[in-house]
Assembly symmetry: D2
Homo-oligomer: 338 residues x 4
């Protein structure tokens, strides 16, 4: 009953096997390995984007910070949800890499509405050199609240950003889970919906530690490479990043793993609702139900692991995350304990 985070799981067998295989013999360093060329081909093919460029790093924070820094100036503002991972969980890394400032937008269930974005876009960047300039829009899908934007919802937001001339980033730490939840294609969820740069998560969904930065505007690739190196994120034995991502994207493994995680997440949602628990909207593998502290303690005593956060009225919010390795039996044990 390990629901603390999808990053408490290990790597999927296929990914681990790829690491082991990649270890054979000598290979060129710093991204010149043969597997990286195959990764680029896979990304271009899967995203229907023959010009796209992809670069690999080992952490989601690095992917986000580099993706953002490559598209903004130090005097810019990056529009994002007030609860965005880049705002709350990266210890100022986006600001460190970019110099820019985050412009926080409130919104229910982790999502930005077109109205709220339009309001922020119209009141920011209107005071000449004195205020922050409009720099970028950054969305997260799956959102930090466990909800999922549809491609149409993303397109509605990027359209507003594009009308102001700014590029759009998607933090896809759980990108495969969002694809599975919406049945959208990678292209529909990204460049067809106005996304210019994607943080393509692998770590949470069955890799050891690999994330891609996918540029749909390939002109930025050299700057991204320089920023990656300057940030200390260029692996010398890069083949081990490539091997993970290659295995992850091959044969639909990424979607298979995410499908399992989402199925288990939804099994939790439904099981808890069936048991009268309050579960806010949750579309993929992560949910934030609330119940009393006493009830939390009983669940923990029964062997459940997850994070707890303060909530109003003496209750506490749980964060339950299912992963590719979550088994039905685990979920059912949890529901039974509930």
């Amino acid at each position: 009953m390990r629901f603390a985070s999808d990053n408490t799981s290990g790597a999927a067998p296929e990914v681990l096997a790829a690491i082991v295989k990649a270890n054979e013999g000598y290979e060129r360093s710093y991204g010149a390995d043969a597997a990286m060329a195959r990764v680029t081909d896979l990304v271009r093919d899967l995203f229907e984007a023959p010009e796209a460029e992809v670069r690999l790093v080992a952490t989601g924070t690095a992917a986000n910070a580099l993706a953002i820094a490559t598209h903004v100036q130090p005097w810019d503002g990056v529009f994002c949800h007030a609860r965005a991972h880049i705002a709350e969980d990266e210890c100022n890394a986006p600001e460190f890499y970019s110099g820019a400032k985050l412009v926080l937008i409130q919104g229910e269930h982790g999502k930005i509405t077109p109205d709220a974005l339009a309001q922020a876009l119209s009141t920011t960047g209107e005071s000449g050199v004195h205020g922050v300039q409009r720099g970028m829009l950054s969305l997260t899908n799956v959102t930090e609240a466990g909800t999922v934007y549809t491609p149409a919802e993303i397109a509605a937001l990027t359209k507003l950003a594009k009308a102001k001339g700014i590029p759009c980033h998607l933090d896809g730490a759980r990108f495969a889970n969002a694809l599975v939840a919406t049945k959208a294609t990678p292209a529909e969820m990204t460049w067809k919906a106005g996304i210019d740069v994607l943080s393509l998560g692998g770590t949470k969904n069955g890799c050891l530690g690999v994330e891609g930065v996918v540029l749909f505007n390939p002109a930025k690739a050299w700057e991204l490479e320089l920023r990656r190196k300057r940030g200390g994120h260029l692996f010398s034995k890069h083949r081990f990043l490539s091997a993970q991502m290659e295995a992850y994207l091959t044969g639909g493994l990424w979607l298979k793993l995410a499908a399992q995680a989402n199925a288990m997440g939804q099994r939790l949602v439904e099981g808890l609702r069936h048991r009268q628990a309050h579960v806010p909207p949750a579309d993929a593998n992560m949910l934030f139900p609330e119940w009393s502290a006493g009830h939390h303690e009983r669940l923990e005593a029964a062997g459940a692991h997850y994070y707890r956060f303060p909530a109003p009225q003496g209750r506490e919010r749980a964060r339950l995350v299912a992963s590719w390795s979550t088994a039905e039996a685990d979920v059912d044990r949890f529901l039974a304990a509930f």
Copy 2:
């Protein structure tokens, strides 16, 4: 005949096995894994430093940049050799992380002499707020030229730095190779010789990608953690960094691997000198001999891989690096081709 770099080798079998084993089951994220506690114990034991703190990252540039940034202020100068890796090969990462400036010191065979350091220390930091302040000394061992500082040589340099009140960093990307070359203990090469913070390399010597930042002043540990996270270098599935470092430091593996690399390096040195080649001083697993372009081409045609650099008088300098996986047969084939 792959001598381009020790980072073109894979991981040692013991390290790979540790990764595979670490993959089992669930584990806490972000450095709270059980293996990390064991790594700390190993480091404290091996370095005879019961208070030392160690934090893991995946690249050498990250280790250096974080180690330096944790010990200097943005208006400081970091004294280092003009050919130092931090000066030449990290795309301004040390400056990015610290804000400080590198003060370059010339020196033969990759080494700083006490005289040269004394001169730099006495002429820097003497102009009030106008000039750079004295911030830190950073040495590299094995040096970028393939030579090795003895503990006594290090102590002579750190003593000068300490007299000016500044801390000392050792870039130990090839630390195990330096230990093997000098027969020094880890403690003798570091804190007993005046080193305050060490970049403890694993990647080049048989790991997939792991480096430690070892703090002999543990008061800096929290700042280091914050800087690591802010730089995007905190692994969520941190167990995979811990597992590598644990295997590497267990049972003398790190020294065994370095001993093989150094032996093969020295076999190259001696074999080439025996064949009348000009080989500058080289004490470990890396050498920079010079010969004519035509001769380089013949070697490459025979299957040798290595880097070439321009040299005076129409010659070219080779960079030959042996690794833990270099076989005697490879060396001998190269010498035969020579």
Copy 3:
């Protein structure tokens, strides 16, 4: 009828005369001028703070950015009002100088309430290395909305910050106006109320361009000097900054100038309220009344200068600022035109 800003006024005659006098002969550069020593004495005397240190710069943005950077770390958050000058009008300068992030707190009439601050302090800095750390509190007095904190109100806020171990900054771009409005002494408004560092404004209140950074913790003085130089804010002909500040603080000039500005500001407030205009709370020399666009146009046609901002219900908000040089006749002409 020039009410656009107090920085559209020139310098007071006493300040200009001091500049002219300071021009005689030769003088030491970079802050070693004799007048600077007198400024330090004046500040220590007026603030009843014999250990205080003061350094001069030419702009308010520089004073704020340096004051903040000297007290926080790059991974910190600076708690401030959502409409603070440091948040809205300094083009990311505080972030540029400090690396820190601003944590915005909403509040009516430009003021932070103890409840809102307590809430922000309790929910920030509680997620280990992942989130922003608690770094500093920054208040503005006179606030950006034209209201004024009393010393007791400041103390109530700094007490909360101090309980969390963080220092407190006061942006006193209009500090003299706040003193006049509250009849507080400089000490009561600052260190006696828990302020550790003050941006002491001169420019808006009758100087050409000079602001002081007053450190009540003198241990920070050297760091402040280095940051000032590194930011390019150390004047070579520093005597011209010293001369302004000396004249400004001598013989109560600063309070006399602020008293005139405030009196004219309050004359506007009362006159407009008497004429049934909606004027939100305004305690010093700046007010933000609202009326229809048509009415704005009539006032402009009559020769009034001021800024206009969008407001709800088809109305527009005016920003009217009186300065040391605003004459009663100007105010009365404006009220008559109204």
Copy 4:
């Protein structure tokens, strides 16, 4: 006998009078003042550059740091003389503003030779993402050693830089002195010689505190404005910067003041050489002769003020700087004392 620096002099009467005059009445803030428009016209006219843009700041360090930051990327290297003011006297400000690194080039008498520059250009920026990229050339005229580049010498250096595709900066803290020394026109010394951006000094040559950043590529103007504001260098009462620069550039005042400084500097050079002192090449208003410590003390006892630096063989180097306000009588008294 005040020869410590040209910044120990006050402002020329014409400049001070302009400040006093500018103080009358109300004026728009933040660079929108009428005088600034006239400054732009003057610069365009004097430099024969109808498209040039100029922005004003108060210090030379700010001008240099902003000029450089506007033209390079954080991973770039800025080629400059090892003794350049930006390298030795600005407390890392250029690095702070730009993120870039300085690549130091040795050269006699403060000057870079084409050979040395060609060497640096050919060995920097050739190692992909690992090393620093070629970013910019920065020259100083009058050099820090008191020598002067002719336009032809500048052109020979910028031609090499341009061949590598990088822009060229001229630190003209003593630009007028360089013009007078070479009889070149402003255009000949700058854009006609390949300079893209100039730090146009006013402070050392008779202003209180004003420097221009002159962009011969006006496309950079908006970025420069944002960087100026973000650095805290945008004056609210900007009219006082404009007034200085307008007076300085009007009616040839700048050249008249520099001519006096240079004449006095050369009078010192010739007088000292006539008295058998060793005076290295010195072409304008600054010289660095050497003599024994005892002789320095006698001169100081006689009332001479200047800086002393250690020199080989028990001697000490003097730095003697004449300014616009240096009188022939002062020089002659010094020579007599000598």
